[in-house]
Symmetry: C2
Subunit: 212 residues, 2 copies
DNA sequence: CGTTGTTTTGAGATATGTCAACAGGGGTGG
DNA sequence: CCACCCCTGTTGACATATCTCAAAACAACG
């Protein structure tokens, strides 16, 4: 199945009967608060299993939107669940997925809380860097981020105006460079430190590469 | 097994071999950021299964501390896992737990992000109110919260000073009252609205009561 | 009745939000 | 190929929320 950029894959309130893996393209999962603000909860990149939450509970209360054109591999939720139920190895796999998911949400909460905008941004970028490396999707210190400032803002709990300003600061400080929709990490150590990550975060990511 | 207030049940980096259910008392799960700030991720109240995360993955990177004296029912992780592996109903139960857990973290992220302090506090209290009601632990519009301001601050990403100020505002506005460590919800509808919750949030909680 | 830990209050600093104007890019239709 | 428009990003001035530091009030507890 394919999807165009900006198309919705599922909406809050839906009862879904399919789950997916991402073959190509990016997507994000979000909620809309009562006051109309959007809050982005997580992103999906190629290779990701899409919507662990939906596998566990078909009644979703979040939405998923395509960030770019994308192609997906579709699974029937019931059939997949039946398979999982029978197959021990698959069950382990699901447990692993859940565990990762829980951990990553914990981390989101931990650093989104109250860190200043610069640190939030650094964490955001370096986190993606690590994910892309682990998936074997990039090699150098430059990668594509098909996001608008508004996405970043809705992810980190900032305003797009303030994201713009803070990005300018990071550029002026010589930490990063941005052209088109690609970001270039100029000063890796400083960025990792700003992000509150271990200095060997990236080496670890390279070591884990393609161990999906 | 029993635990005194302030005692640690597990620490980040531990490999745990036991999981628990809470018989009495409160606890909280937290991380310490590289800069020394503590971030509280979740709370446990009587009846809760303690550390779904630890069941899925024995190598934990968070800590759990007792908030009050507490008594726990201990399970051997391996044995419990073996049981779960054999028993279909238990597997469903675990799936349900994970699903709830994921959802609640989503919600944390959604409202912790950028809401003003008053709304965060309202959400925090009403959320506990709902949880306690569902567990059948309270009846009226008043309940005990064995927390210091610092816990609330570390949960919501605020300063304990600011928590104090904002609480004073809520009191002055006639929304709540606090004595000892018990909170009295004076204006339920306003509090629910502030918290960004449905006006029938509590009726629902009462309806679900003790369906643990 | 002191000691220690917690909450409250105040004054001033800083980070972030809001609103509004403008600039640039990439499409679209003429 | 150009003129226009819409969407996004940038910049500025100002308002506000939250933090910091420090002192004082209060509570719990031996």
């Amino acid at each position: 199945r394919t999807l165009r950029a900006r198309q919705l894959l599922m909406s809050a309130g839906d009862t879904v009967s399919s789950v997916f893996t991402v073959l190509s393209g990016w997507a994000f999962r979000f909620k809309v608060l009562p006051d109309g603000h959007r809050r982005i909860l997580s992103y999906y990149i190629p290779g990701d299993f899409l919507a662990t939450e939906a596998l566990l509970n078909p009644h979703v209360n979040f939405s998923i939107e395509a960030l770019t054109d994308m192609s997906l591999c579709v699974f029937d939720r019931d059939k997949l669940l039946a398979l999982v139920d029978e197959n021990r190895a698959l069950r382990q796999k699901v447990i692993y997925l859940c565990s990762r998911k829980l951990e990553s949400l914990d981390n989101r909460i931990a650093y989104i809380g109250t860190r200043p905008a610069g640190e939030k941004l650094a964490h955001f970028f370096m986190h993606f860097y690590g994910r892309l490396v682990r998936k074997g999707l990039i090699a150098g210190d430059r990668f594509e981020l098909p996001l608008r400032h508004e996405h970043i803002a809705d992810t980190l709990g900032l305003t797009s105006v303030h994201v713009s300003r803070t990005l300018s600061e990071l550029k002026r400080a010589g930490l990063i460079e941005i052209q088109n929709h690609a970001i270039h990490i100029l000063d890796q150590p400083s960025m990792l430190m700003l992000a509150g990550l271990d200095s060997d975060y990236l080496s670890k990511a390279y070591a884990e590469r393609k161990a999906s």
